[in-house]
Symmetry: D2
Amino acid sequence: MANSKYEYVKKFELDDTLLPASWLVVRIDGRSFHSFTFDHGYQRPNDDRGIGLMNECAKRVLEEFSDITFAIGMSDEYSFVLRPTTDLFDRRESKISSVMVSYFASCFVYYWKDYFGDVPLKNPPTFDCRIVCYPTTQCIRDYISWRQADAHINNLYNTTFWSLVNSGVPNKEAETMLKGTFAKDKNEILFTKFGINYSKEGAIYRKGSILYREKVDVKVKEKPDGTPVYRKQSKVILCHEDVIQDKFWNEHPTLLEVNW
Amino acid sequence: MANSKYEYVKKFELDDTLLPASWLVVRIDGRSFHSFTFDHGYQRPNDDRGIGLMNECAKRVLEEFSDITFAIGMSDEYSFVLRPTTDLFDRRESKISSVMVSYFASCFVYYWKDYFGDVPLKNPPTFDCRIVCYPTTQCIRDYISWRQADAHINNLYNTTFWSLVNSGVPNKEAETMLKGTFAKDKNEILFTKFGINYSKEGAIYRKGSILYREKVDVKVKEKPDGTPVYRKQSKVILCHEDVIQDKFWNEHPTLLEVNW
Amino acid sequence: MANSKYEYVKKFELDDTLLPASWLVVRIDGRSFHSFTFDHGYQRPNDDRGIGLMNECAKRVLEEFSDITFAIGMSDEYSFVLRPTTDLFDRRESKISSVMVSYFASCFVYYWKDYFGDVPLKNPPTFDCRIVCYPTTQCIRDYISWRQADAHINNLYNTTFWSLVNSGVPNKEAETMLKGTFAKDKNEILFTKFGINYSKEGAIYRKGSILYREKVDVKVKEKPDGTPVYRKQSKVILCHEDVIQDKFWNEHPTLLEVNW
Amino acid sequence: MANSKYEYVKKFELDDTLLPASWLVVRIDGRSFHSFTFDHGYQRPNDDRGIGLMNECAKRVLEEFSDITFAIGMSDEYSFVLRPTTDLFDRRESKISSVMVSYFASCFVYYWKDYFGDVPLKNPPTFDCRIVCYPTTQCIRDYISWRQADAHINNLYNTTFWSLVNSGVPNKEAETMLKGTFAKDKNEILFTKFGINYSKEGAIYRKGSILYREKVDVKVKEKPDGTPVYRKQSKVILCHEDVIQDKFWNEHPTLLEVNW
């Protein structure tokens, strides 16, 4: 049963190396999460357990792949940013994509009970994933801004929609009421009808979640006299800051720095 | 916070449609499964729990994606074959690949305890995935043969290697003994040293696992007089037959049939 | 001036190997040939000099690249078919495409005067080129049929249009008259207004031009007694036959035959 | 003869859009120019007619495609640089590549006699072409440096080699003499044996040819009193300057400037 006569089929595996020196975004999206979240009783407009689990999975991905410099997530999606200098898996697209999305998915099941406790996971979830190349730092900044602006737009809509629905307005009617409205209209509805000042809502909902690495002092041992000994360690930080304005980036200048 | 100024970044998502009318193979491989199986105490050379779990995941994938006509798996890998006529996710490579591999991975965690019982899953596993196009039915037959021939080669090696090691031969020495040997040499070692007739070993180890769909009669109800009423339903079948020779394909002529 | 520090830029040349074992079509199209043919006084609807020159260029391409098994051309385009077995330039897409289109273009200028005599070539022409993979022989047959059916449709339209225009109907009015007409309407116009039986028009206009290779007996020398000595040689044949029906292919069974 | 049943074959034309916002290099290379130049009696190491013709073709390409900002050529190759902002042919790779290389090739034949006079062009030349994306301005500068450094290395070698051969050293022996030598060794040979100070050789040979666009004052008419009226026009400039050092780029700051 010699294998050599069949090995020619390996030649059909075409090269899928991503353009060197470009930024890479690996974006993961939940598949059919509308019904998944419904089936599992997610709260509307936001479910803290669900957000916590997504952030846990994303944090694990960052810890597993040190070439990721930054991540931003909201709802059922997460975008991971790899530096232009990365040579992870020789920059093979399918390898990077499949390894990250499968790890994210298996983390989701693995850590489910840490966030949902007794709520049973009824079926294994699925995610899709794509990789996009961005040539310049400006592009990658704009990509990140795009996702955060989208998070805002969706969350403002959802907050208004579910406030209406939770107050007794039928879904269809709430939809109709919001059709064609601007941000200020939704802010107005929230404030006058429900006493909600949207800008005071939690940043975790309005801004999404940001993950990045920071060198922090970690106490590694104590001297005999009890003096603590610290060492710099890289740690994944979770925050919900604005990443559209320059402030965050000025405070974390190394995140999008490129050193060849 | 208008989003429109950032939306240009969507244009960087390039089209990755796979060639129409070609067979697609989606191959999933465990990442770092050497250490994963060691950490979880897999038996050598084959662990029935591990094989059962892989087959369970693969079966779920077939049930989820009806465009898969056939699958073959062994060790920590599985190949899924989609017909040339498939239009699943508009044949977008990253979509098909990521959805299947993430579902496989989350099934692996989800069904772990059904196969490993009290053995705790220490960490979420990862899989990589690639898609390969094959233009002709001959190519896809040869691809399948390649995997099954490989399964045989690896299992014969592993069976011999672990028989030696389990009998007290140090790993390094067993490796040296097997270097450069042919199939008949390994068969000889197995028979003379361990009384093992390799061809009598379980087909599940020698041939790997095959999944395909078959129309079977399923009893759907009973008439008032007790006569059972059957209906044809598509069911995923697991077997361990030889798929290199023509016999299997002659018996299942529709599996690789292409109807436009 | 060491070069090594810059050589990293070579790594940006990504692999563009075409899928093995698939048929390749290399299609060349004249760029801006509407104005090119106008500037050079081409006759309407068909210019025999222009057709002759296109066929000359295509024939030269076949003679240069023996992996081309068949070609079909009409108007300012030509499609070259390469067998699935071809390993020309290691199946690199940009290499095959650029070499063929540049040779076609330089032939066009080189042989211009052989067809247009004293008519000066006012400017160097340009062609675009793309390569398309087709997995099966049925696909490639359908591709060829598509081009010949298109040749027919366009030529019937052009013949009718220019008959009207040449008889004094203004261009715009001729366009309007033909808008939404069917083949039988155009045949009717041609017959009743101009006495033209379209099906009697030259096959070169109705069917386009076909090139393929045939083994023919070529007299290579004479014996001392004057007996000619023949040897089989491969020769490029030009014809204008129907290649949609099976007849042509039954008569030339080797053209689309695949021998691995 | 309805065409619709065949039109499905158009779906096999896959999208080949190049990454937005990246620099594009279109590199054209003569195919088999070793024998082409031999057959046409090119002088060694450099033939001014041949260089002139290559530069003529490249200049025509720049005049035809205003999105090209810069070009560098040497021997039988030319690289054309397109800005990241270009939307030429919707950035379709095969379109850009084929149109440019076919135009270059047809120019080569068209302008041949302007440079080679009575020397007949024995056969139509062929060029290959590839497109490479570069994400950053640093990359594109390094690409340009790579080509110019290569031009220097090759020309120093060729100058030394042909000086030896033209002085009577057999080809094989000249090759052996130069194997493993450094730049300084070749400079030494040139100076001591042939009295050639390599750094005084023509920049056109040492640096290759550079093409770029410049706004220049062009006299468009005269006023009645005879005062000339000038207007800024874009003109293609040919030079042979060093483009590895910063000087050239400081003097032409707009060439690699990116304005979104």
